[in-house]
């Protein structure tokens, strides 16, 4: 069984953290992953930086730009991660935009992920239908979970469709926004969380976008299996440095 599915079966709410690979320093990738695991994070999204991250707000745009300036490339990321499974056990997901993967070659990319021990991919700009028709076979061949996003505007019919071709979890975008835009959840979000929870989907849901502290984490995980924190973590690393990862994780899990 894939590490993601195993993790999803654990009887606890999951904390997943996103960080941008190659930021703040080019060689921080491995130590950030190790520190996150050591401090009790359940799952990690490794951000493959892209020049034009359409779905991201200013924080992740800036970290991506810096990571690219630092010299991060797809090949370099794979090199940095080649021995990661000797020290890290939790599920690892690569999150990135489609063009760098497309240039690397989708099959070559997936093959490399399998060799390294990457468990899944999140590709915000790879549409569900294109994945379904062109790439699902390849992802499955290399044992990769592909994670799709849904939003408050996604129709029930489409959510059912996405659920039917997902094999891990569904990434629930908390509100109509780019990353890092929200602070706190209102009634609108809570009722959306409930609505999705009541659909009894086959895949558990993990909520992302707008989770930044213990309060939002708790609110989100009340109605979902877990939550993903991205911008708030990147901000923390920017302000406090990579040595202060423990204090961030503690502040979320309290």
């Amino acid at each position: 069984m894939n590490r993601i599915n195993k993790k999803l079966q654990e009887n606890k709410k999951l904390l997943s953290i996103y960080f941008t690979a190659g930021y703040p320093k080019i060689n921080d990738t491995v130590s950030i992953i190790q520190d996150l695991e050591k401090n009790g994070v359940d799952m990690i999204e490794i951000g493959l930086p892209f020049s034009d991250p359409l779905a991201d707000g200013p924080t992740i745009q800036a970290s991506s730009t810096q990571a690219l300036k630092n010299g991060m490339t797809t090949e370099l990321l794979f090199n940095q991660l080649k021995d990661i499974r000797k020290t890290v056990d939790i599920p690892l997901i690569i999150m990135g935009y489609f063009n760098p993967m497309f240039q690397y070659g989708v099959e070559a990319f997936c093959k490399k992920c399998q060799e390294i021990g990457i468990d899944g991919l999140i590709i915000p700009d790879l549409p569900v239908d294109v994945y379904h028709e062109e790439y699902q076979v390849i992802f499955e061949k290399y044992g990769l979970t592909n994670v799709f996003l849904i939003t408050p505007q996604t129709s029930e019919e489409r959510i059912r469709y996405i659920d039917s071709i997902s094999n891990g979890f569904i990434y629930m975008v908390s509100s109509a926004s780019t990353t890092g835009a929200q602070s706190g959840f209102g009634e609108e979000q809570t009722s959306y969380f409930k609505r999705i929870a009541d659909m009894n989907l086959k895949n558990p849901q993990v909520i992302g976008f707008g989770i930044s502290n213990n309060d939002t984490f708790t609110q989100a995980t009340k109605h979902a299996k877990g939550a993903i924190i991205g911008s708030a973590f990147v901000k923390h690393v920017t302000n406090e440095g990579v040595d202060a990862i423990d204090s961030f994780v503690k502040s979320i899990l309290e």
Partner: protein, 409 residues
């Protein structure tokens, strides 16, 4: 415009090639809708409705009337006598520069604002590089009384001050794009992010034949009024609808798409696309996507794209802000790949000189974008009886500063 229709592929060719968009939103292997799920409901709503709305008699009536009374269409097809004499061929200029707001851009913004209204949207966003599309969008928003927000790269805001002022006078809010290289590519990113954050009440008026399906097709159809008019205008003047060549400059490619549209499947009409070579195709400072680009994904579509080996989108360069874009529309990528269109690249220098030459020979100050197309006559020899129709996509008022600096006027 009386009819917006798909033209069937020319059946006499040994291999039947379709240059129009297919049902799935592709031109050959290019196109599609590579968008984050957050944009799906908006783009899908548009996809399901755009053809339906455009086919409504009330829409066509309103669109035609505005093009006639407000934009000033039909734009003249002008036989450029002295230019023709100089290059010993027959040159016709399609005078899009005479449209209201000074370029072809308004054909599309009129069409899209009418669609936005029918979809119940009351907030309009747009991206702009040089400011022409921003002005055209601000104009139609003023006309319709709709809120207008234009994203523009911080660097472009600084170098296109008159157009920024125009947009403000027209009631638009101009928001600087501070990310990335702070030019058109980033303004487009910011507009897309705005749309993600405002998924219900907002319509995004994309200004070029780019973006996720159905944008390239929708923009092309609105711009197709250009070639629709060329057909009957040329018939009046030359006794035939089809020229030997249609020529247009290409950034994203909206004026080119409109100029080619009704000739795509006329095999006796040769198509030429002029890209900006910048300081030279091999100089590292260029926007010649057909030469320097390879297949990739930008702003929601698969097309030819300037990028690093690692798939990071690179910064193009051209003296012309309207051609300074790292991709081309998917239709043009398909025309390039299939060989239907011949692509040529013109440097800053050659374009500027061709622009000045048109001033001197014909009394027309062209936009620097259009000057790139005009420079073809120094590079390619046409036959004396060839009929060459060129889109003069915009006027040069906005470029006066660049002309002044370049020629020390």
């Amino acid at each position: 415009m009386t009819k917006i229709k798909q033209i069937p592929a020319f059946a006499g060719m040994t291999k039947i090639m379709n240059y129009n968009v297919n049902k799935k939103g592709y031109y050959g292997e290019f196109g599609g809708a590579f968008i984050p799920e957050m944009l799906y409901p908006n783009v899908e709503e548009l996809r399901q409705n755009y053809l339906k709305v455009m086919a409504e008699p009330s829409f066509q009536k309103e669109f035609d009337k505005l093009l006639k009374d407000y934009v000033g269409r039909p734009s003249p097809l002008y036989f450029a006598k002295r230019l023709s004499e100089k290059y010993n061929t027959k040159i016709y200029l399609k005078r899009e520069d005479l449209n209201h707001t000074g370029a072809h851009k308004i054909n599309n913004t009129i069409g899209q604002i009418l669609i936005a209204k029918r979809l119940g949207k009351h907030r309009i966003i747009a991206e702009t590089g040089a400011g022409q599309h921003g002005v055209a969008t601000a104009t139609v928003c003023a006309l319709m009384g709709l809120e207008c927000i234009v994203y523009m790269g911080e660097i472009d805001i600084a170098r296109q001050a008159p157009n920024v002022a125009r947009m403000k006078m027209l009631g638009a809010k101009v928001v600087p794009a501070l990310s990335g290289s702070r030019t058109l590519k980033d303004a487009t990113n910011e507009a897309i992010r705005d749309w993600i954050n405002n998924p219900v009440n907002t319509h995004y008026i994309i200004g070029s034949a780019i973006g996720p399906h159905p944008y390239p097709d929708m923009v092309t159809k609105f711009q197709s009024v250009i070639s629709e008019e060329i057909k009957w205008q040329l018939k009046e003047q030359e006794g035939r609808e089809n020229p030997d060549y249609v020529v247009a400059c290409i950034g994203g490619g909206s004026n080119a798409a409109g100029t080619y549209y009704h000739y795509l499947h006329e095999k006796d009409v040769k198509i030429i696309a002029i890209e900006a070579a910048g300081l030279g195709v091999d100089s590292g400072e260029s926007a010649a996507t057909s030469v320097l680009g390879k297949e990739g994904i930008i702003h929601g579509c698969k097309t030819l794209l300037m990028q690093t080996n690692d798939g990071q989108i690179t910064e193009p360069y051209s003296i012309s802000a309207g051609l300074d874009y790292p991709g081309v529309g998917p239709m043009h990528a398909h025309l390039c790949k299939t060989g239907r269109a011949e692509f040529m690249a013109i440097t800053d220098d050659d374009a500027m000189k061709a622009g000045l030459e048109l001033c001197e020979l014909e009394g027309i100050i062209p936009a620097i974008e259009s000057s790139h197309a005009l420079a073809i006559f120094k590079q390619k020899q046409f036959k004396p009886d060839d009929v060459v129709v060129m889109s003069l996509s915009g006027r040069g008022d906005k470029d006066l500063n660049t002309y002044i600096n370049f020629f020390n006027l």
